[in-house]
Amino acid sequence: MNSKAKAAAIYKDNLQNFFFVLPAFVIFCIFYIYPFLNMIFLSFHEWKGIGLMHFIGLQNYKELIGDNLWWDSMVHAGYITLIALTFQNALAFALALACDRQIRMKRFYCMVFFIPPVLSEVVVGLIWNWILNPEMQAGQHIGLLNHLLFSSGLPQMVHNWLGDPKTALTTIAIVHSWKGFGWGFIMLLAGLQTIDKQLYEAAKIDGAGAWQTFINVTIPMMLPVILVVMILTILGSMQVFVLILSMVNEGLVNHTDVPVTRILSSMTGTDRFGYACAEAVIFGMILVCVSFMMKKLSDRVKQI
């Protein structure tokens, strides 16, 4: 086959491949690229969702930079993420380590731990709303948590968990962690099961104790999985909002606002679609930066 025919063959081959990819590409463009570009376009406008759009340049972005409520909401999302990264993932890792051993009813535990993630966030929010209910009827606490605290001799700990600015966000973060730890658990357990058992045996022969084995064998072997779990936790926690809506409605003043609820509030509460789009663009950029940093970190760890 001469070079001209070869080039033609490659061209035809590419064209054929292109046709295979085309449907997915078209769908991706319609449902992702077009809305994304449209969102950027809208962020330069003042628009109520209907009627005329007024081009205002970077005005929405300028306002956003000085919007304390927006940056507070970023801090709140960061706080929820921090709790999820530490408490949620530590719990997931501890349980994964426990289930990696030869224990009784291992499958049952795995199934139970995976129930919260498969529940809808709305359902979880409603269940926890009932558990945390601060009201009383006929001298009895309606909420399960306050009822348990009261009946176990801890009446001083009875509290309006979601109605107090000091505890509302932490309570939401803990519920979010409870709902999300199952994903980390499954991934970490899968990671633990791929570690060659001979490494543990070698460490044992070398006289390593349980803690040394954990630090020098388990952790290094698990680092790539831990990083993936961390990235997913960060992205999932930064975007939490359904749980918040189902637990505190439009929020406890602004104490439970996160970026997505702010975007929703700008769009549906005050009909500022352009501003909501600017918020979404900035939030998207922050998430892309965080993901990029985590990817860099992951690559560096892999090299080590």
């Binding site: 085309l22 009383m136 309606i142 109605g163």
Partner: protein, 445 residues
């Protein structure tokens, strides 16, 4: 793996490629050049009222039997999602023949200006205004625009109200009796006294879904009307009076007082109205603030609930206390619908006495048809009758000459939440709201 020989692959793939390309082009052509809808005997109605869906379906069936025109009733709930869906449908030019706009008057005006809502003035005024006169004026006002209105919309009637509603206070007779209260309070001071009596016997005095900002707004504006009257409220919206005015501080202070006197149920600022309705229906609170639709809701939750209706107790006598009320739900007709006339005819039929009585009976709502009200009240719950009395003192943002900027309203409502949880004082909230108002005024909003 054996690779297929080039000529074979080429022959088949070229044919496939051409077929695929032609199919795509044909598909794009047909999608892009699809025919514009033609008039048919089918009209489509989108609504958000879960509690009315069965009745709408029943009435649609009846209408088909009478006229041969099929009404396709589609329910989209909850109302927040419905509201956004209508905006999305308007942008995509796929609005149905009949729909509702659950938004501020300014947004309704934008829909009209975009040519998406039919002007019903001629139909309403035909035959000496027979249709318009059959409906409650306050209900019609919801989608009526006066000549020279601030929204720049041509004066006229653009919507059809199918029921009327108002928001008042409810009291549980059994719980009041438990606290030794023989009659519902008439003044604010009496209300506070009763609340304290209820607290003494371990009953939460008052519940409302103040996790939803509009309910706070509604309650606060009742007292604003009572404390300073219409003119001062509207002059604040125009930017001529400040929120730091002593009268506004007084309005904010009502909430601080309710908090300090232990009137409000725990967790009120994060409570959705559904939960608040549950609390009142299950007798966890003696007073509630809710709309007339609650009659149906409470009946479903607790058919034996013994309760009455009263306007929020007034603070002073300087100005009358007004409550929010007017059209409960209104439908508009798509101006671009090929079935516009049929849609209007259906709405006319839906608001006739006979159909309105059916709607009122089955959904426990107040009808928008004047003649139907008496009949509906005779057959319906006595509580509904008490609600209907409140229509005389009702008002609504949709009939006010001016509305506050939504961002300021949001800050106002959130400020009240902050007062309730002890985050801010009335003075601080007033200053915050005024600062935002100044910013918005400077921007020309």
């Amino acid at each position: 793996m054996r690779k297929l020989k080039w000529p074979y692959t080429l022959t088949v793939s070229r044919r496939c490629q051409w077929i695929a390309l032609c199919s795509c082009l044909i598909l794009v052509f047909f999608v892009g050049c699809s025919q514009s809808p033609r008039p048919s005997n089918k009209i489509i109605l989108w609504h958000w009222m879960t509690d009315c869906n069965d009745t709408f379906l029943k009435l649609a069936q009846q209408y088909k039997q009478e006229t041969g025109i099929e009404v396709v009733v589609r329910l989209f709930a909850p109302s927040d999602s419905y509201s956004q869906m209508i905006i999305a449908a308007a942008q995509a030019h796929v609005l149905p023949d009949i729909y509702g706009i659950l938004n501020t008057k300014a947004i309704v005006a934008d829909f009209i200006k975009a040519g998406l809502v039919a002007d019903l003035t001629d139909d309403m005024n035909a035959n000496g205004g027979a249709w318009a006169n059959s409906l409650f004026d306050k209900a019609l006002a919801d989608k009526r625009f006066e000549q020279g209105n601030i929204y720049g919309v041509k004066g006229g009637i653009y919507g059809v109200p199918i029921d009327v509603t108002n928001e008042q206070m409810l009291y549980n007779k059994k719980l009041l009796a438990k606290a030794g209260i023989t009659s519902p309070p008439r003044t604010y001071d009496e209300f506070i006294k009763d609340a304290q009596a209820l607290n003494r016997v371990g009953i939460a005095p008052f519940v409302s879904g103040w996790g939803e900002l509009w309910l706070i707004d509604c309650f606060a504006s009742n007292y604003a009307f009572n404390i300073m009257g219409d003119d001062k409220i509207f002059s604040t919206y125009y930017g001529q009076t400040k929120y730091t005015d002593p009268d506004w501080i007084k309005v904010f202070s009502v909430f601080a007082d309710l908090r300090d006197k232990g009137v409000l149920i725990d967790g009120i600022v994060t409570k959705g109205n559904k939960y608040a309705e549950q609390d009142f229906a299950l007798e966890r609170a003696a007073f509630a603030f809710n709309g007339s639709w609650c009659v149906n809701v409470y009946h479903d939750m607790n058919p034996n609930l013994d309760y009455g209706v009263m306007p929020p107790p007034a603070i002073g006598r300087a100005y009358p206390l007004k409550i929010w009320g007017g059209a409960g739900s209104s439908f508009v007709v798509n101006a671009n619908s090929p079935n516009k006339d049929k849609a209007i005819a259906f709405l006319k039929w839906l608001t006739e006495r006979k159909q309105q009585v059916i709607l009122a009976r089955e959904t426990n709502k107040l009808p928008s048809n004047k003649e139907a009200l008496k009949e509906a009240l005779l057959a319906g719950s006595p509580v509904l009758g008490e609600f209907s009395k409140g229509m005389n003192q009702s008002t609504h943002p949709t009939i006010w000459p001016v509305n506050e900027d939504p961002l300021v309203t949001q800050a106002f409502d959130k400020g009240i939440q902050a007062i309730i949880i002890g985050d801010k004082t009335p003075q601080q909230v007033a200053e915050d709201v005024q600062n935002l108002k100044d910013r918005q005024m400077a921007r020309g909003n």
